[in-house]
C-alpha cells in the first residue's frame, strides 16, 4: 500500500534529530542544576548553622563562665547579623539560667532531648542547631604526667535559622535554572536550525540548480559550499552541466556547419540545376541549329537542280551532321564519365606511330588556317607503352582541336616529355601550345566546369558543347594525372596535362584470353569460388575455366551462402579467411542448408593443422593449401565428385604460371603496396589490415615464402612502429617484389 503522507524535508528531519537530544539534554541539565542548587543551598544553610553554633559555643565560654549576660547578648546579636539566623538561646548549667535573643519560636518543652543526636532539627519552617558549651583547659605544665582534665560542661547554645531565605534562594535558584534551561533550549533550537540549514540549504540550492538545468538553464552554477560531500556533489553537477553545455555548443556548431554546408550544397545544386537548364537550353539550341541546317538543306537539295548548289548543300549537310555527331558524342562521353568513370584499356602501343596518326588527323585543319602545327616527342619518352591509346588520343585531339579552333594565326605545337618514372610506370608531361587570343585568368577555372565556356559568344562563334575540357580533365585524372591551363591575353595558351602509362620493354605475348587450355576434365561443372581477393579470384577462375568449368564468384562467405542456396553448384572452393562471414562459418551454414549440399574444398594459406582441422570439422571434404597446386586442386575437385578422371602433372601443367602474367601480379602487388603506403602517409588505418591480408594472400597464392614472411613480420610490427619506419618497411617489401618478380622468374 502506497504511503500517501508527504515526506518530511531534510531540514525538518535534521531539526528533529538534533533538537530532540539537545532538548532532553537541556531538561536534564535544568533538573540537575535545580536539584544540585537545592542541595547546595540546604547544605550551605546547615553549614552556616553548624559553624555559627560551634563558634558561638566557643565564644560564649567566657561569658557563660563569668555569668556575663551582657556579653552573651552581644554575642547573640552579632549572630543575628547573619540573615538566616532568627534567634539564639544560651543556657547556663551553673545557674540554670536561659538567655533568649531574637524571635526564637522553639518552646522550652521541645528543647529537652531534641538535640541528643547532634543533628540539626527542623520544626515549623525553622532549623535548630545545638552545641554544648564546655571549658576546655589549655596545657601549661612542661612535665605534666597526668594529662588534661575532662572538659567541664557550662551549658549549651541553640541557634535558630529560618528557612524563608532558603526558600527564597531556592526559588531564585530554580528561576536561574529555568533561565539556563530556557537559554539552553533556545540555543539548542538555534543550533539545530543552523545545523539543519547548513546541510539542507546547499541541498535545496542544488535541487533548484538541477531544476534550472532541467529547464534548460545550463549556465546555472551550483554553489560549491556547505559540507564536503555537498561540495563534491555540486562540483560534479557543475562539471556535468559544463559537459552538457559544451556538448550542446558543439552540437549547435555542428548543426550550424551542416546547415551552412547544406545551404552551400543547395546553392550549388541550384546553380547546377540552373547550369543544367542553361545547358539543356543551349544544347537544344545547338542541336537544333545543325539539325535545322540538315533538314533545311535536305529539303533544298530535293528541289535544287543546280549541281554546284546541290554540292554546296551536300557539304553543309555533311558539315552540320558531323557537328551534330560530335555534339552527341561529347554529351555521351560526358554522361559516361559522370555516371561511372571511364574504363581504361591496357593496350601496348607504339608511341611514334600513334602520335603520327594523331597529328595527321589535325594537320588538314591547321593547314586550312595556315597555322604551323609542330610536334615534338622528347627522346627519353619510352616508345613502347602500355595504356589506353584511344583515350589518350581523345585528350590530345580535343586540346589540339581547340587550339586550332581558337588560333587565327601563328602556331600550334604539341610537346610530350617524360616527367618521372617509377619502375614500369612512366608519367608523361604533355602540352599543347597555341598563339591564340588567350583566356582571361578569371575565366580559366570555369573552363573545366561542365556546360561552361568562357562566354556564350564563343559557343555562338565556334560552336561546341563546352564539355571537351571537362571530359579531358576526367580522362587525365583517370590516367593518374591532371590538366592545367596557363594563358595570357593576346599571347596564347598552354594547356598541359600529365598521364601515367606503363613502359613496355617487351610486349607480352599473352593477353587475358590467351590462356592455354588443357584437358577439359571439368567441362560442364559449375564451380563456386568464394574468395575475397580479386586477384586470386581472377587467377583461379582462369585456371578452372582452362579446364572447362563454369565459375561463379562470391566475394565473401555471405555471398557464397546465398549463391549456394539459390543456384546449382557442383563444387564449392571456399577460402577460410574472408570478410563479413568467414569460410568456416559459411561452410557450416551451407552444409546445414536443406537439400543436397555440394562438396566444399577449403582454401587456406595457413599451413597449421589446426586451421585445416577447423575447416574439415565444418564439413569440407578436403583442404587445399595456398599457393594453389594446379594438379592437386583439379584432382581434388574430381575426387570430391567421385570422378575417376585424374590429370597428371604433365597433362597440361603450367597453366597456373601462364594464366597470370608476372606484370599483372606485380601490378596487383604494387597496387596494394601503394594503397598501404598512401594510408601510412595519410595516417588513415581503416583498411590497413585488409591490405596486409590481401598481400599475404597474393604471396601465399604464388608461394612467395620470403615475401610472405616479410609481410607477416610487417603485420606483427607495424602497430608499434612510427610512420617513417612503416614506410621504410613497405619500401623494402616493394624492393623485394622488384627483385623477385622479374618476368622470367615467376
Amino acid at each position: 500500500m502506497r504511503d500517501n503522507r508527504k515526506p518530511a524535508s531534510i531540514h525538518a528531519r535534521l531539526l528533529l534529530t538534533t533538537l530532540i537530544p539537545l532538548t532532553l539534554l537541556s531538561l536534564v541539565l535544568g533538573w540537575y542544576i535545580i536539584t544540585s542548587q537545592r542541595t547546595v543551598l540546604l547544605n550551605n544553610l546547615q553549614d552556616t548553622g553548624r559553624v555559627a553554633v560551634h563558634q558561638m559555643a566557643s565564644n560564649a565560654e567566657f561569658a557563660l563562665f563569668s555569668g556575663n549576660q551582657a556579653m552573651l547578648e552581644t554575642l547573640g546579636y552579632s549572630v543575628l547579623d547573619i540573615p538566616s539566623v532568627s534567634g539564639i538561646i544560651f543556657h547556663n548549667e551553673l545557674d540554670k539560667s536561659t538567655v533568649r535573643i531574637g524571635d526564637v519560636k522553639l518552646s522550652t518543652q521541645l528543647i529537652s532531648g531534641s538535640f541528643d543526636s547532634g543533628l540539626p532539627f527542623f520544626i515549623d519552617h525553622h532549623w535548630y542547631f545545638f552545641a554544648p558549651i564546655t571549658i576546655n583547659d589549655i596545657p601549661i605544665m612542661d612535665y605534666d604526667e597526668v594529662g588534661q582534665p575532662e572538659a567541664e560542661s557550662l551549658g549549651w547554645v541553640i541557634i535558630e535559622l529560618t528557612d524563608k531565605i532558603l526558600l527564597q534562594e531556592q526559588r531564585e535558584a530554580i528561576f536561574g535554572a529555568l533561565i539556563v534551561t530556557t537559554m539552553s533550549l533556545l540555543i539548542a533550537a538555534w543550533l539545530s536550525m543552523r545545523i539543519g540549514r547548513s546541510i539542507s540549504r546547499p541541498v535545496e540550492s542544488l535541487t533548484e540548480t538541477v531544476e534550472l538545468m532541467e529547464a534548460g538553464g545550463l549556465d546555472s552554477l551550483a554553489a560549491e559550499n556547505g559540507p564536503m560531500e555537498i561540495r563534491k556533489l555540486a562540483y560534479g553537477i557543475n562539471q556535468l552541466a559544463t559537459s552538457v553545455r559544451e556538448s550542446n555548443v558543439h552540437m549547435q556548431s555542428e548543426i550550424a556547419r551542416a546547415t551552412v554546408q547544406l545551404q552551400i550544397t543547395l546553392i550549388e545544386l541550384e546553380e547546377a540545376m540552373e547550369a543544367q537548364d542553361q545547358f539543356l537550353a543551349r544544347m537544344s539550341h545547338e542541336l537544333r541549329t545543325p539539325l535545322t541546317a540538315v533538314i533545311g538543306f535536305s529539303k533544298l537539295l530535293a528541289t535544287e537542280e543546280d549541281p554546284a548548289k546541290r554540292q554546296e548543300h551536300l557539304r553543309i549537310i555533311d558539315s552540320s551532321s558531323t557537328m551534330l555527331l560530335t555534339m552527341i558524342d561529347d554529351i555521351l562521353e560526358f554522361s559516361k564519365a559522370h555516371l561511372g568513370g571511364f574504363t581504361l584499356e591496357k593496350i601496348n602501343f607504339d608511341m611514334d606511330q600513334w602520335f603520327t596518326d594523331l597529328v595527321a588527323i589535325h594537320r588538314p585543319r591547321a593547314d586550312e588556317k595556315n597555322l604551323s602545327l609542330t610536334c615534338n616527342i622528347a627522346d627519353d619518352v619510352p616508345r613502347q607503352l602500355s595504356g589506353d591509346p584511344v583515350r589518350l588520343a581523345q585528350i590530345f585531339s580535343n586540346l589540339v582541336s581547340n587550339a586550332i579552333k581558337f588560333t587565327d594565326s601563328g602556331f600550334v605545337s604539341v610537346d610530350i616529355k617524360r616527367q618521372t618514372s617509377d619502375g614500369d610506370h612512366v608519367v608523361l608531361d604533355c602540352a599543347v601550345t597555341d598563339s591564340g587570343k588567350g583566356i582571361a585568368a578569371d575565366k580559366i577555372a570555369l573552363l573545366f566546369d561542365p556546360f561552361a565556356q568562357e562566354d556564350t559568344s564563343i559557343n555562338r562563334r565556334f560552336g561546341g558543347t563546352g564539355l571537351g575540357l571537362s571530359i579531358c580533365k576526367r580522362l587525365a585524372q583517370t590516367m593518374g594525372g591532371d590538366v592545367k591551363i596557363e594563358s595570357e591575353i593576346g599571347k596564347g595558351t598552354v594547356v598541359s596535362f600529365t598521364c601515367r602509362l606503363f613502359e613496355v620493354n617487351t610486349l607480352s605475348p599473352l593477353e587475358d584470353d590467351q590462356a592455354v587450355l588443357a584437358e577439359q576434365v571439368l567441362a560442364g561443372l559449375s564451380i563456386l569460388l568464394a574468395e575475397d581477393n580479386p586477384f586470386n579470384q581472377k587467377l583461379i577462375v582462369k585456371l578452372l575455366r582452362g579446364y572447362g568449368a563454369d565459375c561463379l564468384v562470391a566475394n565473401n562467405g555471405l555471398e557464397a551462402i546465398e549463391i549456394a542456396g539459390d543456384l546449382h553448384v557442383d563444387v564449392v572452393l571456399m577460402d577460410i579467411h574472408m570478410p563479413v562471414v568467414d569460410g568456416v562459418t559459411a561452410c557450416e551454414t551451407i552444409m546445414q542448408q536443406s537439400g543436397e549440399s555440394p562438396p566444399i574444398i577449403g582454401l587456406t594459406a595457413d599451413i597449421t593443422p589446426m586451421e585445416q582441422q577447423r575447416m574439415l570439422t565444418a564439413g569440407a571434404v578436403s583442404v587445399q593449401s595456398k599457393p594453389v597446386d594446379e594438379v592437386s586442386l583439379v584432382n581434388s575437385i574430381l575426387s570430391s565428385l567421385n570422378d575417376m578422371n585424374e590429370i597428371s602433372p604433365n597433362s597440361g601443367g603450367g597453366l597456373l604460371a601462364s594464366v597470370i602474367p608476372v606484370e599483372e601480379l606485380k601490378e596487383a602487388l604494387y597496387e596494394n603496396l601503394d594503397k598501404l603506403d598512401l594510408q601510412l602517409r595519410s595516417g588513415e588505418n581503416s583498411s590497413q589490415r585488409q591490405i596486409i591480408h590481401d598481400l599475404m594472400g597474393l604471396c601465399g597464392l604464388y608461394g612467395m615464402t620470403e615475401l610472405r614472411e616479410q609481410v607477416l613480420e610487417f603485420r606483427a610490427a607495424y602497430g608499434a612502429l612510427d610512420t617513417e619506419e612503416n614506410i621504410k618497411k613497405v619500401q623494402r617489401i616493394r624492393e623485394h617484389v622488384e627483385g623477385y618478380l622479374v618476368p622470367d622468374s615467376c
Binding site: 563569668s66 571549658i135 583547659d137 589549655i138 601549661i140 605544665m141 612542661d142 605534666d144 597526668v146
Partner: protein
Amino acid sequence: MLDWDSSEMSFKASLSKLQCVIKTQVLVVALFICSVPTVIAESNVSKESRVLFVISKQAKIYTDLTALVQRNLHGQTGTIYQFVTDVEKNFVTRNLNFKPDFIVTVGAMASETVMKSKPQQPVLAVLITDSAFNLLSKKYYGSNMQAYAANVSAICLDQPFQRSIRLAKLILPEAKIAGVMTGPSSKKREDDFAQYVTDANMVPKMINIGLEDNPIHLLEPIIKRSDVFIPVPDNRRVNIATAKWILQLSYRYKVPVIAYSKTYLDAGALAAIYSSVENVAQQTAEFIDNEFLGDTGGSHTAAYFSISFNSSVASNLNIDLKSEQFYRAVLEAD
C-alpha cells in the same frame, strides 16, 4: 589525676585516684640496660657507686634527662658510677637485683613509687614541683623534715619568685603594679612575694585562688589594674583552671604575663623563666657528684634557669625585648 590538697579528705580522694591511675596506666616495660659507662675520674679510684634511675614512664624527656645526668657527672670524688634506669613500675624488682647505692627518681609518679617503699638508700627526687614534693613527703614520711631525715632529697622545678619579679622588671622597667596570683599551697608565702615585689620597686596586687573559686571574678579586677601579672605555680588543678582565664584577661586588658613554664609561654604569656631538662640534669649531676655521699636529705631550689619569650605576644603588646642572653646574664649576675 593527682590532686594534692591540704585537706585530708581531698588528699585521700586524690591518692585513691592516683593509685588507680598507676594501676591502669599501661607502661611499656622496656628493659634497656645502658652500657654501663664507667667514668674514671682519676687513676687511683677506689670506690664504686651504683645509681638507680627510676623514671615515671618510658618517654623521651625522662631518658633524655638520665642521659644528660650521666653525661654531666664528673666523678669528682673518685667514684666509679654504675647506672641502671627503669620505670617506676619495676622499681622493687630492680632495687633488689641491682642493689643500688643511690636512687634518683625522675618525675612525680616515680618519686611517689620510691617514697612509698621508703628504701634504705638515699633518694633524690627530680623533675618534681615543690608542692608535689611537699605533699609526697607529708604523705609517706609525715613531714618534709622526716623525709629529709630518711635521706630523701629533691631538686624542685620551681624557680625562685625573685627571678620572676626581677625578669618582669627587666622587661618592663616602667611597670608600677605587679599582680601576683597564689594558690592553696603558696598562700602562706604571699607576704614574702609581696615583699619581693616591693623590693623591685613595684606595688604588689596579690590574689589567692581557691579550688572552688570562680577565677574570672577574682582575677579580672587584679589583672585589669596591673602592669604585669605573675602567677605562682601551685596546685595543679588551680594552675590549669586559672591559666586560660589569666591569658584571656591579659589579652583583653593588654597586661603581660610572666609564666613559670615553657608550655605556659606558648599558650600566650609574654615571657617564661623555667627549669629546662638541661638545667635539671646539670643540677642533678652536680648534686650526685658533690652531695649524695654523706649528705642528708633536703629540698633544693632550682639552681639553673632558662628564659624564653613569645615574640608574637610581645609584638601585640608593643614591648621591645632584648636578647635572652642579656636577661640571663643580668639574672645570673644577681
